[in-house]
Structure formats: C-alpha cells, structure tokens
Amino acid sequence: MIYSDIALDAVMVAVLLDLFIVRSKMMTRGIFWLTYGLILPFQLLTNWWLTANKIVMYSEAEIIGRRIAGAPVEDLLFGFSLILLTLSLWEFFSHKKLSKQN
C-alpha cells in the first residue's frame, strides 16, 4: 500500500507548504475550494476514461483497493495535493513579482 502512504505524504507536504512555508494559505480561501470543486469532476472523468480503457493500471498490492470512478481512491489525494501545491506556488510567485515592482 505504498501508493496510499505516499499520496498521504503528498497531501501533508502540500498543506504544510501552503500554510507554513510559502504561506499562500490557499486552503483558507474560498476561491481555492471553488477552483478545486470545479476541477474534481474533470479529474474523475479523466480517471474513469484512463482506467476503464485500461490505459493506466495499478498494482493491487500498492493500494488499499477502494476505487472511485475506476481509479484508486488514493488518486484523489494525489490530485488534491497537485492542485493545492500548484496554486500555492502560483500565488507565492505572483506576490514575489509584485513586491519586486514596488
């Protein structure tokens, strides 16, 4: 169940980075959850497509076995961490640029 562990770690890294390291604090902002809420159905759609057509397959030994839209439930953790980290870094560098111009 190594995918489960790493997926959880990825979420923790993303949350720590967002709240305490780059401090974009996206998780405290409604706009982040709105964005994630819009992206999530598209993730489920592509996950379903990729797994139903057996384009991507997962080793059963690496996952807890529960699946959502064809893909391991761990994939939702991965997706969440990816979006949070991306937007958190994006905000961080937006502000960097602003402070340079001032």
Binding site: I2, Y3, I6, A10, R29, G30, I31, F32, L34, T35, L38, I39, F42, T46, W49, L50, N53, K54, I55, V56, M57, Y58, S59, E62, L82, I83, L85, T86, L87, L89, W90, F93, S94, K97
Partner: protein
C-alpha cells in the same frame, strides 16, 4: 489510433485550457515565466515520484495506448505532458474564477 488514447486525454484538457485562456482573456502567455517556474518545481517533485513508482510497477501503462516515447525507457512522454497541462489548467481555472467572482480584488485590498 490506439497509440494516441492517452494523448487524446491530454489534448482534451489542452483544448479546455486554450478555451478558458481565450474565453476569459487570461493571457497566460504574459505570465509564462511565472508558470514555468511553478511547473518546474511541480515536475521535479511529481515526476520523481512517478518515475520511482513506474520502476516499482506501482502503476503501469498499456504499451498499445501510448505513443511509445519513454523517458528512462519506462516513463511515457504523456506523463511529462500531464504535469505540464494539468498544472496549466489548474492555474487557468483559478484565474478564470478570480475574474468571474471578483474574490481576488477584495482579498488583495486587505
């Protein structure tokens, strides 16, 4: 055409990205450097994980449904594209929703 099955998924997301970029006048090209900086960090983190998992066979790809170009002989080129297109779509969705809701303006005023 089967070889493009994974690629088509990425092309679909890419088309959505172009649509959002034009439709909401995000002009992401003017922030290309910022995006590349963010994406470089994302790619380092997630592709390391991906390469490691592919070598361990945690997940694997149908050789008949990928283009066949592979990094380190194992990681499909589609996986690299994935970590460019998905973060790009994320940033575009976020930018479009900021425009649509106007929530960004109030938060910057704080």
């Amino acid at each position: 055409m089967a070889h493009f099955h994974y690629f088509f998924v990425l092309a679909f997301i890419g088309l959505c990205a172009v649509g959002v970029n034009l439709g909401f006048r995000i002009r992401i090209a003017s922030k290309l450097q910022q995006f590349l900086l963010v994406d470089a960090l994302i790619i380092v983190l997630y592709l390391s994980w991906d390469i490691w998992a592919v070598f361990k066979k945690s997940w694997y790809f149908d050789p008949n449904q990928i283009i066949g170009l592979q990094l380190f002989g194992r990681l499909p080129i589609e996986e690299i594209l994935f970590f460019v297109i998905v973060p790009l779509m994320g940033v575009l969705t976020y930018s479009a929703l900021l425009k649509l809701t106007g929530w960004g303006a109030t938060e910057e005023a704080r």
